[in-house]
């Protein structure tokens, strides 16, 4: 019955014109016909490429209904994505970031990719460029990811210029496809003999590029219904990969940099071709004909059976993407061993190896996870891509469970460790996202370009896809995950049309007004997310009547007969919350961080009074009883933010007095314990915190998230 219900959820369409006024909802409206989400038949990609441009046939008819993930037929998905186009984000925090993304970040990144030869790498193969090769084996993926960012953008409404640019790139990409189906600019000519060899794929990124191409092609298909790129990708899988690579007697392959796994599962969700799912499973399982040294296998997070992993380790982006692929595989197969491993790994990651910003991958060496609780601040690597991978993985774990703990991590990463990855201007990017910074080392933290330009287009596609993260449907109702001014135009899984509007000033204010308008009076559950940070004084009312029982860190199920224009009012606690880290995190001993709502805050030197030096430990935040944070919205500051204030104390050294432990007083280097350290804090200062994502948007300045504590 459950499966039937899932498959029938598009049987009923939005029936009321009154609740479907948005152009962006046309996808949902257009999908009103078929009872079942039909799939592209698996052999379509083996058709001649000339057919790729043919108009959509029946088997392509549901593209408008597919979300970031198309879980409509995934047996082990409890929640199902809504299309990106079904949600319109308006006038608020994310709308502003998304506008910068589309008007600044995406266009300028295109031009930089062009000037750095990323398109010429393709043109050279068809004789249209004689520019020298620039870049490395991973470069194609960055262009695919940029195109995917455009594709997600188009899912929220057409942008003709971007649309045309993306189409030109797609035409260029498919034009290099060889007769055997291969697409790629690196393993050609002299390097062709190295292609797909397990020993070259530690850095070869060949399947990684294929994965990103498939994701880009799928997003573009879901944006436009155009299956040209998608078919080229399917052809590479079906004609090039599947016939030659896989279990014996085929040749063994290793993913090297996980990514293709989730792409193949998503492809399966379109094609229904079980070979695509099985190929993902084969890659996740490793092939024991490939002998990978243990340290290499740890670094690659591939090459050995995924289900033998017991902790997140090695290269953080690889690990996160592998976990995404494995969760996707679980959502289709229900493999209990995978599920056990995924939960073990999630506890390892979220419970022992994640920064408070949601960033992951503590170590620069190998861009890797450190040991459990090894979370240095100043040297934190916390690559933007890894935080995005964390977010993507939690989105999949949430789909499997409906458990709000995954949404809490997703949101933590999104607002902080991901969002810090792009400047307010939209043209400068963090590759690493440290939690403390000393500018005297001369490092520029935000740059317009990196030779490995993975993070910026990853950020761009994430922001472009953001509407798709706001809601999910389930067999019994609807889940709201993220709060911002927005309109959902979609339907319940039983087909009942549903419009949900949010009015809020999140993340600056905790009040959210949600208007729920089903096409007709309907009984279902509205799962209201109560974030982990919302405190214990959460207020929820439906049509003005208080509803009790909402608890932080859960989805609060409101089951009732919903009528058009029913209103949920919720008030989430926005008291700034000082945080301490687990004692195992040696780096944060005696220190405190601050979070308000979903935002982690930081101190930037520029905003502090003279004499405060964030680089030498001389500042402490006062944690004496009665000390409080105050919040102040500053509309004209850093794009409009709530800043926090709190008293701090500075240990001023008038003149070093030697190190005798009986003399030297507060200026001595060492002294008797018994709160001696406290007494040395001699001058009160008023501190100003800004959201972590907003740091490094002015001149270079010291920054810290975890600040020493004083009790005075």
């Amino acid at each position: 019955l459950k499966d039937i219900t899932r498959r029938q959820f598009v049987a009923s369409a939005l029936s009321s014109a009154a609740i479907s006024p948005l152009g962006l909802a046309k996808g949902a409206a257009a999908s009103a016909g078929p009872v079942r989400v039909d799939r592209v038949v698996s052999n379509v990609a083996s058709e001649p490429r000339e057919d790729a441009a043919a108009p959509g046939t029946d088997q392509f008819s549901s593209w408008q209904d597919q979300g970031i993930l198309n879980l409509a037929n995934s047996p082990y998905a409890k929640l199902h994505n809504v299309p990106v186009r079904a949600v319109t984000i308006e006038n608020g925090f994310w709308a502003a970031r998304r506008e910068v993304n589309v008007t600044q970040s995406i266009p300028t990144m295109h031009d930089l990719m062009e000037s750095h030869g990323r398109m010429d790498n393709f043109r050279r193969l068809i004789g249209k460029s004689s520019a020298p090769e620039i870049g490395n084996a991973g470069c194609d993926s960055h262009l695919y990811k940029w195109t995917e960012a455009v594709a997600f953008t188009l899912q929220s409404g057409d942008r003709p210029e971007l649309h045309k640019t993306a189409e030109d790139i797609i035409d260029l990409v498919v034009s290099v496809q060889k007769p055997n189906g291969y697409i790629g600019t690196y393993f050609v000519d002299d390097r062709a003999t190295l292609s797909m060899r397990p020993d070259t794929q530690q850095t070869g990124h060949e399947l990684y590029c294929l994965g990103h191409m498939l994701q880009g092609a799928i997003a573009y298909y879901r944006a436009t219904g155009d299956r040209k790129w998608l078919n080229a990708g399917i052809r590479m899988v079906n004609d090039f990969v599947l016939p030659s690579y896989g279990p014996a007697p085929k040749l063994p392959i290793i993913s090297g940099h996980p990514e293709v796994e989730m792409a193949l599962v998503e492809l399966y969700r379109i094609t229904g071709d079980k070979r695509h799912l099985d190929l993902a499973g084969y890659i996740l399982g490793g092939d024991d004909r490939i002998h990978v040294p243990r340290q290499v296998s740890i670094y690659l997070f591939s090459g050995t059976p995924f289900t033998e992993r017991t902790q997140v380790e090695g290269h953080a982006v690889r690990a996160m993407y592998a976990c995404c692929g494995a969760t996707d595989y679980y959502l289709e197969t229900g493999d209990a061993t995978y599920w056990k491993t995924l939960n073990t790994l999630w506890n390892s990651m979220a419970g022992t190896k994640m920064y408070v910003t949601g960033g992951v991958g503590a170590r620069a060496q190998g861009e890797a996870f450190g040991a459990a609780y090894d979370l240095p601040n100043a040297s934190a690597y916390a690559e933007t891509c890894a935080a995005i991978g964390n977010m993507m993985w939690n989105w999949r774990m949430l789909a499997a469970t409906g458990d709000a703990k995954f949404t809490d991590v997703l949101e933590r990463a999104l607002y902080n460790g991901v969002n810090s990855g792009m400047s307010l201007s939209g043209t400068l990017y963090c590759y690493t996202n440290p939690l403390a910074f000393d500018p005297s080392a001369g490092i520029t933290i935000r740059n317009p370009w990196y030779s490995t330009i993975c993070c910026p287009p990853n950020f761009e596609r994430t922001l472009a896809s953001l509407p798709g993260y706001f809601y999910s449907t389930s067999s019994d109702g609807i889940y709201v995950h993220l709060y911002d001014n927005s309109i959902l135009d979609w339907h319940l899984e039983d087909g009942t049309g549903l419009r949900v509007t949010q009015k809020t000033n999140m993340p600056w204010d905790g009040d959210v007004e949600i208007t729920v308008t089903p096409a007709q009076r309907s009984e279902f559950t509205f799962y209201l997310r109560v974030p982990g940070w919302a405190g214990d004084k959460i207020r929820v009312a439906v049509n003005g009547k208080p509803v009790t029982g909402a608890m932080a860190g859960t989805y609060f199920p409101i089951h009732r007969h919903w009528s058009p224009n029913d209103v949920i009012q919720s008030r989430l606690g926005m008291t700034p919350q000082p945080l301490s880290a687990n004692p195992h995190v040696a780096e944060d001993t005696g220190r405190v961080a601050v979070q308000r709502g979903p935002l982690v805050y930081c101190l930037e030197q520029l905003d502090q009074p003279n004499g405060v030096d964030l680089t030498d430990g001389s500042l402490a935040v006062s944690m004496k009883p009665g000390a409080e944070f105050t919040s102040e919205f500053k509309a004209d500051f850093l794009g409009g933010i709530v800043v926090l204030h709190r008293d701090g104390t500075v240990a001023e050294v008038r003149s070093p007095q030697g190190s005798l432990n009986s003399k030297g007083g507060r200026d001595a280097l060492y002294g008797p314990y018994e709160d001696q350290a406290e007494l040395r804090y001699s001058r009160s200062v008023r501190l100003t915190y800004i959201p972590f994502y907003a740091w490094a948007n002015r001149e270079p300045s010291a920054m810290e998230v975890w600040t020493p504590v004083s009790k005075v």
Copy 2:
């Protein structure tokens, strides 16, 4: 008058056989004749080398009276060294270490230097070896330093076998002296044209080697009266260096690695040849014909005027040795600019850049000082040589002032950051002396050999010279600096014979009984050192009668008419003292170290209960009111030590519970502040501390000096 008094202090000799029973005091007895400490006439070294073995002449007659430094005629020395041979250290802490030094460390290091070609480098030059060259430009210095260690050993009594070995090495060294006076094995043959060029001396160590040769030759001369090596050294200075190098129109030189400065001043104290002092001054002053980039000058701590320095910086050993040389220069010249700079630098070092162990040089890169308060623990470099340099510098600052703050630093370095440099077995050495250690990185902290074998012979010469650090004389009396079972047989500066015996169990016990026996009843001041760590309940009695006024961190002057067998009893506080660091030391935020008497303690993983892990911050020391340290002497443990016990608490993670800040309880990665961190410490443990110097003498084990604090 003052100068006269100084110069006359050997006018009177030990007159009573009753107080001169020690064979080791024969030097002092033998020096009873001359009124003035005569000097080697400066041109003696230019005599033909054949004369070098001639028996001592009048101008050599005072060699037995000279201490580590011969400050008898230094106008700006307030305190004056006593000869090493005047003090016998018996049956106790340092006697045991010194016995290991002489029976294990020095002999085995000789054999290792031989097997690593250090002697063959010399033999090759005289056709007695065809072994390939091993080592680098600094290698000669290490052999000189080893020979100096033997020389100091001989000052405490003959060791015929070591004596013969040293003499063979000295014969070998002087045999390579060229007709122009040059001694050295590196800048010969193809490299001869590079000799003494300023641009080669950043790593050339040429004057550094000369400095160590002079120090070795002086120590050997003071041990034996044999001036063979000394004369060779003087000849290199007088015939090779002085005629060609110095202020224009001579060629410019740079010390590159400071060391020769203090050696030249010490040479001046023997020769009275002002050219030796002036050469030291010229080198300390820099030569503006040499253009050294600023960063290089910082690293070298030479090349620019010493008096323009405002902080200790750059290579720590270079900085410390430069400060030694500059202090020696001040002791002879009284140059006020030097004195101001020295105090500025001392405050910079002791007040902002010194580990609690007395180690200095925080950074491995460049073996260098970091910024003020930049004192990382696990990555502390704290080279043994630098701690020795710190000790040597403070010995000179103490001589200039009689200020106990310098003795406190000297003692801190000696007992901790220096003493950790040699294993209990005497055959393994620390090059770096970190304050926290995680063995999982696979680093072996103690090794029998280093390709740059500077620290082990430096440690050996320091321990061999230790008796010379116990006392000083002044115009008005005598100072005691260090406490251990010992006998001083010497005399006051007015010539009155004086014997002082110490009975104590230091550093394990704070009681010291000092018997003061002047040759006849005499009025003078006995300056009793009250260490900075001695607390505020110091008890002092003379002949059983309490004397009040002793304060920690000072010399307590006991002025009276002293009669033979007068007894001073002092009780110094030995309560284990928890220490905190200045808040500017970010690394030590929320942490506590422990000192008992002169010893800094540490936790070594091996001694803790199961479940304690020093590498991940999960352990905290309880600082709740009423928590105390207990002390326990364990005679059969690590050579016999007092261990300390105290309650600690461990934050045990049963299973990671994610990172939600509202859930997860004590196992969560982050949680609300308000002593949440405290509450996570869930299991009490009994901790055992050992002295820092004794760590890493068993199997590899984690270690830490600064431990997080809990209030539970």
